[in-house]
């Protein structure tokens, strides 16, 4: 804070996963950077594309199976077998979104709007788009471009730039 000899100038964030916690890690870091006046570019790839796909962006979930950190309210154990029951994943995910809303953390589409409103740029991975058979029209309107990883790297040069993989 006080030591700002060589402040961070640019962050290039790569979001490759599509669960609530992964997508929000990407979005919180991106938005936080924009708010600090740091140039911000975000590249969504693989399952991370859900965060910028119109049909999926506000339906992301957290995994209730195979997630050892999953606990019931009050810190009680949450047996994996419960996570298999129909509706549990949706219910748990809705609860998580609700507790974030209480902290003024917006839904995915609004969060992306906050990032672009401050000048942050959102990109999609061409390879993953081809793999999932997605077209540019399937993506959120403000996605700036569909890029190869090489093209994204070309934007990540310069002094005091960091690439972050979430």
């Amino acid at each position: 804070m006080a030591n700002t000899e060589t402040p961070l100038k640019k962050v290039c964030i790569i979001g490759a996963k599509g669960t609530i916690e992964d997508v929000y890690a990407t979005l919180v870091m991106a938005n936080g950077a924009v708010m600090e006046g740091i140039e911000t570019k975000v590249f969504f790839t693989f399952f991370g594309l859900d965060a910028i796909t119109k049909k999926q962006m506000n339906k992301i979930k957290t995994a209730t199976i195979g997630n050892p950190a999953m606990r019931a309210p009050g810190g009680l154990p949450f047996p994996s077998i419960l996570g298999m029951l129909p509706g549990v994943e949706a219910g748990v995910s809705a609860m998580m979104m609700k507790s974030m809303e209480k902290l003024d953390i917006p839904p995915v589409d609004e969060f992306l709007e906050m990032i672009t409103a401050g000048g942050g740029e959102i990109y999609a991975c061409k390879l993953a788009m081809d793999m999932f058979k997605l077209e540019k029209e399937d993506l959120w309107d403000e996605v700036k471009d569909v890029l190869t990883i090489g093209e994204f790297y070309a934007m990540c040069g310069g002094e005091n730039t960091q690439i972050i993989f979430t």
């Binding site: 804070m1 006080a2 919180v28 938005n31 936080g32 708010m35 902290l103 003024d104 917006p106 709007e113």
Partner: protein, 103 residues
């Protein structure tokens, strides 16, 4: 903690230049702090500052989302008013503590 003179008044500020006592604040102090950052305060700026001060007084956590929903200015406009620090600069000029918020 240090004392600085802003707009002819001695005020207490922390290491990052945020005022310690919000009641010492006035518009001239805000204008001088903004000038140091290269920002000329307009009526719109002051509306935002007043909103931040009243929200902070109520003990609510400040976020840019909250300012965006205040009806004063949208988030894009907020960035235009306070380039490079929509919340950190605005709260500084408003004479309130730096919000402990990630949004």
């Amino acid at each position: 903690m240090a004392q600085v003179t802003l707009a002819g008044q001695t005020v207490e500020v922390n290491d990052e230049g945020y005022m310690v006592d919000a009641s010492q604040w006035n518009k001239e102090i805000a204008a001088e702090m903004a000038k140091e950052q290269g920002i000329e305060l307009s009526d719109k700026h002051y509306e935002v500052l007043e909103f931040l001060r009243s929200t902070s007084e109520k003990g609510e956590t400040l976020t840019i989302r909250k300012v965006g929903k205040s009806g004063i200015v949208d988030i894009k406009g907020l960035y235009q008013l306070f380039p490079g620090g929509p919340l950190k600069y605005s709260s500084k000029f408003a004479g309130i503590p730096k919000p402990a918020s990630c949004v």
